[in-house]
């Protein structure tokens, strides 16, 4: 279980997160939503210890993050950043194997290699195992990055806008895959999304941020037209088309 207990974080005197608190159960796909600058990426970084909060505590399975070393955190939390400032040229196998780094000293053991094999299989990347990462499409590379986070054997999986820059087919495939893995591996998966329809379709829980504060945390009922107005600043309709929820943006709210 992932618990955030009144997290606050400031950067250069500006308050980015203010007293954020919620608890997330395993086996749930959680959509972290809000407009640009609401604090979504900062919140993900505080959850994985990259930005330690000035106040409050993050607990993973009842253990405060502050009691864990960086390596111990990495064994519990898998993280996919919004944009990486580097892309190594190596084989897909090596890129995924890197995710075992927190688990081995020196060289990877046979179990590490076996887990990479299994994860490549789970992610449908087997045929690309020996391909150079420079020769992958955007969707394939994103799957490799998710595979690397998964091979860490995390309890919590944090993904910052994982379907941005993907075509619609890859968006659907990636979100379906995340949903399946969350259930099968009993993960707490937190996904930052801007596509509200995708969030409604795939997520079990919703965390809505507004100006660094928690606006709402709950099931689908928190994604109502009032939230669209107050959190996202737009008039919108929420409807179902053939059983699939869809957010129809109408117009920006007038200030």
């Amino acid at each position: 279980m992932l618990v955030l207990d009144r997290i606050s974080f400031s950067f250069k005197g500006a308050e980015v997160l203010r007293e954020i608190g919620f608890a997330l159960q395993p086996g749930r796909l959680v959509a972290l939503l809000g407009i640009n600058g609401a604090g979504k990426s900062t919140l993900l970084r505080t959850i994985n210890g990259l930005l330690p909060p000035q106040q409050g505590t993050v607990l993973i399975d009842d253990i405060p993050l502050t009691r864990l070393s960086g390596r111990e955190v990495a064994r519990r939390v898998g993280y996919l950043p919004q944009k990486s400032n580097g892309t190594a040229v190596c084989t897909v196998f090596d890129a995924v194997l890197l995710g075992r780094k927190p688990h081995f000293s020196g060289s990877p053991a046979a179990r590490d290699l076996k887990l990479v094999e299994q994860t490549l299989h789970t992610m449908g990347l087997e045929r690309l195992a020996l391909r150079d990462t420079s020769r992958l499409s955007g969707g394939e590379l994103q799957r490799v990055m998710i595979a690397r986070a998964l091979v860490q054997e995390p309890r919590v999986l944090l993904l910052d806008e994982p379907i941005n820059h993907l075509d619609i087919k890859n968006q659907l495939a990636t979100m379906s895959l995340l949903k399946r893995l969350t259930t099968e591996l009993n993960l707490v998966t937190v996904v930052v999304l801007h596509d509200l329809s995708a969030a409604l379709r795939f997520a079990d829980r919703f965390v809505l941020l507004q100006d660094g504060r928690l606006y709402a945390c709950g099931d689908r009922r928190v994604m109502n037209e009032t939230a669209m107005r107050e959190v996202f600043g737009m008039e919108a309709l929420i409807r179902e088309v053939e059983g699939i929820p869809v957010v129809l943006p109408l117009a920006p709210c007038t200030p």
């Binding site: 939390v77 950043p81 400032n85 580097g86 892309t87 190594a88 084989t91 780094k101 076996k114 020996l130």
Partner: protein
């Protein structure tokens, strides 16, 4: 055999091939090292060289030439070239810039400025001639001062690299600016120097393996081997850094600490060899670029391959320097810079084609 087992097997075969290439490179190095022992004004056959190596008492004159001159020079090439290759691959990794090298970030120019300060202001070191080779006599103070200049450059870069919010690009640019600053300071010192001081100061900048004896080699080894072991032990950290700081940090790596320690050790390795030998350009830049097509970007192999490539390049350059205008021995720094520039352009063109 199952499909999965087969795949692991193929993966390992690929890794073994990469290792094999690195070993082949090492094999080439051994051959070149023997050629280096054969190169010089005193003609010696392979048999005589082997005899001297196995029994130094057999021929005192040949033993002196091999042990005190050629072997010492060969070991200096291996240590300095290996150190430059090591510093190059590490700096390119932690600064995320393919142009990063000890030369680019101002270590070499810092050392040159330090040497000029010792020669011109402190009055240390005079040029003397020994046959066809020039050397700087009374140069301990010059070496110390050159080391001080290199460390000053390293310190500045390290302080900058450890500051919050300073990008790796800014570190590289600061290194370029620092090089220009040290260059200007050297020129200012030279402007006020007399003819002999000016000649000695310029002579120091010619990177030359003849300046090293066994004592210098021992110090270069002490500055090269511990960092090499540290970098090899942390090979996976450098692989992780290639994916960006956030990814590396999320894998439990203390990125800032790693960057500062890596820069410090890499620069120290080069500061020591540059202080003894003078400026040897392009090896630190070129060695990793020549190693990558052979073993890829995987630092499990790239670190070793860059070290071997650096040693190979410097040894080959030194053999050319000793034979091109024989019996005149050219400073090896001239050869590395002459060869390095077109070689680098060739690599750029190849990369563009690919």
């Amino acid at each position: 055999m199952s499909c999965a087992d087969d795949r692991i097997g193929r993966q390992y075969q690929q890794l073994l091939r990469q290792k094999g290439l690195a070993v082949l490179l090492g094999g080439g190095l051994a051959l070149l090292a023997f050629s280096s022992l054969k190169t010089g004004s005193l003609p010696l056959t392979w048999g005589e060289i082997m005899a001297v190596l196995l029994d130094p008492e057999a021929d005192a004159r040949a033993a002196h030439v091999i042990q005190q001159i050629r072997l010492s020079r060969t070991v200096a090439a291996l240590l300095a070239g290996g150190g430059l290759g090591l510093a190059g691959v590490i700096m390119q990794n932690v600064l995320k810039n393919p142009l990063a090298s000890p030369f680019t970030i101002g270590v070499s120019q810092g050392a040159a400025c330090g040497a000029a300060f010792a020669i011109i202001i402190l009055g240390a070191g005079t040029i003397q001639q020994d046959g066809n080779t020039g050397f700087l006599a009374g140069s301990s103070l010059v070496v110390l001062s050159a080391f001080g200049g290199a460390i000053l450059a390293v310190g500045f870069i390290l302080v900058l690299a450890s500051l919050e919010g300073v990008s790796t690009e800014a570190v590289i640019l600061a290194g370029v600016a620092l090089s220009a600053f040290f260059g200007a300071a050297t020129m200012l010192l030279q402007y006020f120097a007399d003819d002999l001081q000016l000649a000695a100061s310029v002579f120091w900048t010619f990177g030359d393996l003849g300046k090293a004896g066994w004592a210098e080699n021992a110090l270069m080894a002490a500055a090269f081997i511990p960092p090499l072991l540290y970098f090899v032990a942390g090979r996976w950290n450098f692989n992780a850094l290639q994916w960006g700081d956030e990814v590396a940090a999320s894998l439990g790596i203390r990125v800032k600490r790693l960057r500062v320690i890596a820069m410090l050790l890499a620069a120290l390795t080069v500061a020591v060899s540059t202080s003894f030998l003078g400026i040897i350009g392009f090896i630190g830049l070129m060695a990793p670029h020549l190693a990558r097509p052979l073993v890829g970007n995987d630092h499990r192999f790239l670190i070793a391959a860059s070290v071997l490539m650096g040693a190979l390049l410097l040894l080959a350059s030194d053999i050319i320097a000793r034979t091109l205008l024989a019996p005149v021995v050219l400073p090896v720094g001239i050869i590395t810079s002459f060869a390095g520039a077109p070689l680098f352009l060739y690599l750029l063109i190849c990369r563009r084609r690919n």
